[in-house]
């Protein structure tokens, strides 16, 4: 006759689980996995660099004392974004180079249109990385601000900004259908305000 086996005492199960839980809590660190994406220029030298008009270049220099020079004038970091927006959105070109969607001042001495406007960011070898990132952040923010504006103007029915749409597009959970409908919209806005941000090589001492 088979005897009934005694039940296993599960009272210590909670303790064991707690032990494991605490182990995982202590050993794991949540990794930061976001940042500013950039693309480096390819190595091969361009033999014949295209001629770019001075007015289409917005120079930002961060010197070794972490001071920011925008168009050869000293500027506070908090003003960088607005002046970059002003430069990109200027639309001073006439005729073929006219920018129909720009809302800027149409100053002839500033950029012709956003497609031609280039932001050149230069730094010294002794510049702090965090300052450099802050400046980059502000410049990307300027682009995002303008792209947001155009996106909400062009596609008001989507009820979101360019940044949100872009985030949705790169989210793997978004369905293919939504993605294919977003892609042309995003591309159109990216074409209106292309991110032409050049990171020059630092000054050699």
């Amino acid at each position: 006759m088979a005897r009934k086996s005694p039940e296993v005492n599960a009272g210590s199960m909670a303790d064991i689980a707690f032990l494991l839980l605490i182990f995982f809590l202590v050993t794991t660190t949540i990794e930061t996995d976001s940042g500013i994406n950039r693309k480096l220029p390819p190595m091969d030298e361009i033999i014949d660099p295209p001629v770019i008009k001075e007015r289409n270049i917005f120079t930002v220099v961060v010197n070794k004392n972490n001071m920011i020079l925008v168009e050869e004038k000293l500027m506070d970091l908090s003003d960088v974004r607005s002046s970059a927006v002003k430069f990109l959105d200027n639309g001073g070109g006439v005729g073929e180079e006219e920018c129909t969607y720009c809302e800027g001042e149409k100053d002839r001495s500033s950029s012709d249109n956003p497609e031609k406007a280039i932001i050149s960011l230069k730094n010294d070898r002794e510049t702090d990385y965090k300052v450099y990132i802050s400046v980059q952040n502000e410049l990307v923010a300027a682009y995002n601000e303008l792209r947001d504006r155009e996106f909400t103007k062009k596609f008001p029915n989507d009820r979101m900004t360019f940044v949100e749409a872009n985030k949705m597009y790169s989210d793997p959970r978004t369905s293919v259908k939504v993605k294919t409908s977003l892609k042309p919209k995003l591309d159109e806005i990216k074409k209106m305000f292309p991110q032409k941000l050049s990171e020059a090589e630092p000054n050699k001492k």
Binding site: A17, T28, N37, K39, L40, N123, T127, Q136
Partner: protein
């Protein structure tokens, strides 16, 4: 009728703790799934700068990490106070970066080799000279997609 049996008055019944393990296990599984194990131990200070215009990094198998910063206090006596590059658990010099990226690229699946991103996890206090050198090395091996990994926050936190 048994349905209306009078309840035994007096003392409260003890709260059953039988479901406690289940609750704890649930928490445990949550943490196991939600956290990512660090591949390599950090040997450099790594206080990332803050930025708010960030994009999410690609999936982990498409990313090559490069750390840089001042050696952390444990290694200070041995390696000094100058900012250094850390590749896979050891300190390296700039000229190793290219070889490292190529070696890492070779370990990835073939269809991913063209879409790799190099994530630069650099301490905020580092000089840009080191980063420029890394960037030059990356350009040499044609690893052009980079990501300056940052914390999410306002730039004013950087000062």
């Amino acid at each position: 009728m048994s349905k209306f049996k009078k309840k035994k008055g007096g003392e409260l019944p003890a709260i059953s703790t039988a479901s406690l393990p289940d609750i704890v296990f649930m928490l445990l599984f949550f943490f196991m799934v939600a956290t990512v194990m660090r591949d390599n131990t950090l040997m450099v200070d790594n206080k990332l700068p803050a930025a708010d215009q960030v994009q999410k990094l690609d999936k982990k198998d498409r990313v090559i990490y490069i750390y840089a910063g001042k050696p952390s206090s444990r290694y200070k006596t041995k390696y000094g106070n100058q900012a250094k590059i850390q590749l896979n658990d050891k300190f390296s010099v700039v000229s190793d970066v290219g070889a490292y990226v190529l070696a890492e690229r070779a370990t990835k699946r073939e269809e991913l080799q063209n879409v790799l991103t190099t994530a630069l996890k650099v301490d905020g206090e580092t000089n840009m000279g080191l980063i420029s050198d890394i960037k030059q090395e990356l350009r040499k091996v044609n690893a052009l997609k980079i990501n300056y990994t940052t914390r999410i926050g306002n730039y004013s936190q950087n000062y």
